[in-house]
């Protein structure tokens, strides 16, 4: 599987995850009804997909090229600690800087999505085999 396809597939899965987490969070924090936010879902999914494609492209793909000589799952395992530490620090710094409640939830979701995006990106072939 080439990098572009891998990026798109990862971004789609991650966008679904991020939007469902965000939808659930907004719904519960605002005590609204499930149907209230439904019309906004497609556009939210589209925006998330674009943002995550950029995120994966700029933060995960460079690691793929950095360790290209190794098998793909090994690259993932090797650089995962660095990626996790950087992602967490980035989210934490922005949470502290923004200083409002919603930022905690949004950046928390961003961190979880980033971690899963990494796992999916480096394991897509594995899924296919299974």
């Amino acid at each position: 599987m080439n990098v572009s396809l891998r990026t798109i597939k990862t971004a789609f899965k991650s966008a679904l995850l991020a939007v469902s987490l965000l939808y659930f969070a907004i719904l519960c924090l605002n005590e609204g009804r499930i149907s209230d936010a439904l019309p906004f879902l497609p556009i939210c999914l589209f925006v998330s997909f674009i943002l995550i494609i950029l995120g994966v492209g700029f933060t995960i793909v460079p690691f793929y090229y950095l360790g290209k000589k190794n098998p793909i799952p090994k690259i993932g395992k090797k650089f995962f600690p660095l990626y996790a530490i950087l992602s967490f620090s980035f989210c934490l710094i922005f949470t502290v800087m923004s200083g409002f409640m919603a930022a905690n939830v949004i950046l928390g979701i961003a961190y979880i999505t980033a971690m899963f995006a990494w796992i999916w990106f480096f394991n897509l072939d594995k899924n296919k085999i299974n």
Binding site: G76, F80, I85, N123
Partner: protein, 465 residues
């Protein structure tokens, strides 16, 4: 034992202790709970002295959070917690790797385990490993039976019915669930301490000594030239620093004549210049003693000049310490001025470890290990001091000019001592400052009274209503 049961119970306790609460007794209780959990899941590792020490250090810092409740004590306690986790994950690694491993475990151990499982297991095995019927039986049947009996007992006994009606589950909302999930995630992470494999493996195989065989060979001509360059550079640098020290000492005698703003500017500019010069000094020494020059037979002069330069840098630090001391004796202590003293202390330690590195032929990793360990120890020691109280006590007793606005703006740790000062020496602080201190004291007493049991601090025991 099923791991999830203690983890779920602990995450409920986590919510009980921290949900919508300020930091206080809850931090100490949670630290004890964490150590207990770590002991349950890592009993074998807890038999080593290093792990036990790390656990004690963490518990001690958590106790200081209860006593002083300052940001510094909380940060130190979190760092001590990373140290404990890192020690559990790999007991023999260096302190900086342990801190890194502890941090990594706290934020991503769960994801890492999931990722590894993803790598190792096939989907078929995974499906087999989750027995849904078993879990349905284990959770569903007891719940249904319990509900039936509750309904029966409620109709049988009006007191029981009344009691059940009084139970208030209104605290369970989305935020509470989110918070508890966060607690579960944190506890899941910390009960499985993991390592950053590449960094830990590199650290374990890297000794402190510089090995001649590991260094790329260099021709004797090149080495001679590098040695010469080092000697010329260090002679010039030594002369320059010597000249600077002479002028600085002359300037020092006029320091007492300066007004407050000039003195402040002089001290601050001196510190900034010192920071840069110390970093450059260590950098230059590390550059020359990075490899073959350590084993060069004619390096004696270079070593002597390096020692002299380190010595003169230490003198420079002492002169700056004196300037800072003068500044403090005029205008009192502040956090920034204490920070300067601590920085100067760490600089001296840094220079001494660099000297040891040069003479004992150690490598760069020796410097990292020693300096980070010492920095960590200094941080832990600084947690044991009530800085606000110390600043207030010093300034009210020794400083020539007291900045009451600064003292009032400090945390509540100095409230009692300020109140005592105002009560004893009634004529000294201006009336407005006295009013502000009384207001601060009353507000603090009210806050202490309003504290829940989770938020209790040491002062709650002193100021009993």
């Amino acid at each position: 034992m099923n791991k999830n049961i203690p983890l779920i119970a602990s995450s409920l306790i986590f919510s009980l202790l921290f949900f919508k609460q300020n930091i206080g007794l809850n931090f100490l209780l949670f630290s004890t709970l964490t150590i207990a959990l770590l002991f349950i899941f890592n009993t074998k590792q807890f038999k080593t002295i290093k792990v036990l020490t790390a656990a004690l250090v963490f518990l001690a810092t958590a106790t200081f959070v209860f006593i002083y409740n300052t940001t510094l004590s909380i940060i130190s306690s979190i760092i001590a917690f990373f140290y404990l986790l890192g020690t559990l994950s790999e007991v023999h690694s260096s302190v900086y790797i342990q801190l890194l491993n502890g941090f990594f475990s706290s934020i991503a151990s769960g994801f890492s385990m999931y990722y590894n499982r993803f790598l190792e297991e096939t989907e078929a095995v995974k499906k087999k490993s989750i027995d849904y019927v078993y879990w349905l039986k284990m959770i569903g049947i007891p719940t249904i039976v319990l509900l039936v009996f509750v309904i029966l007992y409620r109709s049988a006994n009006p007191y029981f019915d009344e009691l059940l009606n009084k139970i208030d589950f209104s605290f369970i909302n989305f935020q509470w669930i989110l918070f508890t999930t966060l607690g579960y995630f944190l506890l899941l992470n910390i009960t499985n301490p993991i390592t950053i494999e590449s960094a830990t493996a590199f650290d374990l195989i890297t000794a402190n000594n510089l090995n001649k065989d590991d260094i790329k060979p260099q021709s004797s001509e090149n080495l001679g030239q590098e040695n010469q360059l080092g000697i010329i550079l260090l002679v010039l640098l030594n002369m320059l620093i010597l000249f600077f020290l002479v002028t600085d000492t002359i300037y020092l005698s006029h320091l007492t004549d300066l007004n407050a703003s000039d003195l402040s500017r002089t001290v601050h500019e001196g510190i900034y210049a010192l920071i840069t010069s110390i970093v450059f000094a260590i950098g230059i020494i590390l550059y020359f003693f990075r490899g073959n020059l350590n084993f060069y037979k004619k390096n004696k002069n270079l070593k002597v000049l390096t020692t002299l330069w380190i010595g003169l840098n230490i003198v420079l630090i002492l002169v700056t310490t004196y300037k800072n001391y003068l500044y403090v004796s005029f205008h009192g202590l502040t956090y920034k001025r204490i920070g300067v003293f601590i920085y100067l202390l760490l600089s001296i330690i840094g220079l001494i470890t660099t000297f040891i590195k040069v003479y004992a032929t150690y490598n760069f990793w020796f410097l990292c290990r020693k300096n980070i360990s010492i920095g960590f120890a200094v941080l832990l020691i600084s947690t044991t001091i009530n800085w606000d109280k110390l600043i207030t006590k010093y300034n009210t007793q020794y400083a020539e000019n007291i900045d009451f606005d600064y003292l009032i703006g400090l945390s509540d740790n100095n409230t009692l001592i300020l109140k005592e000062y105002v009560d004893v020496i009634t004529n000294e602080p201006p009336i407005s400052a006295q009013n502000q201190i009384t207001h601060k004291y009353n507000q603090y007493c009210k806050n202490l009274q309003d504290n829940n049991w989770q938020e209790l601090v040491f002062d709650n025991l002193i100021l009993k209503p």
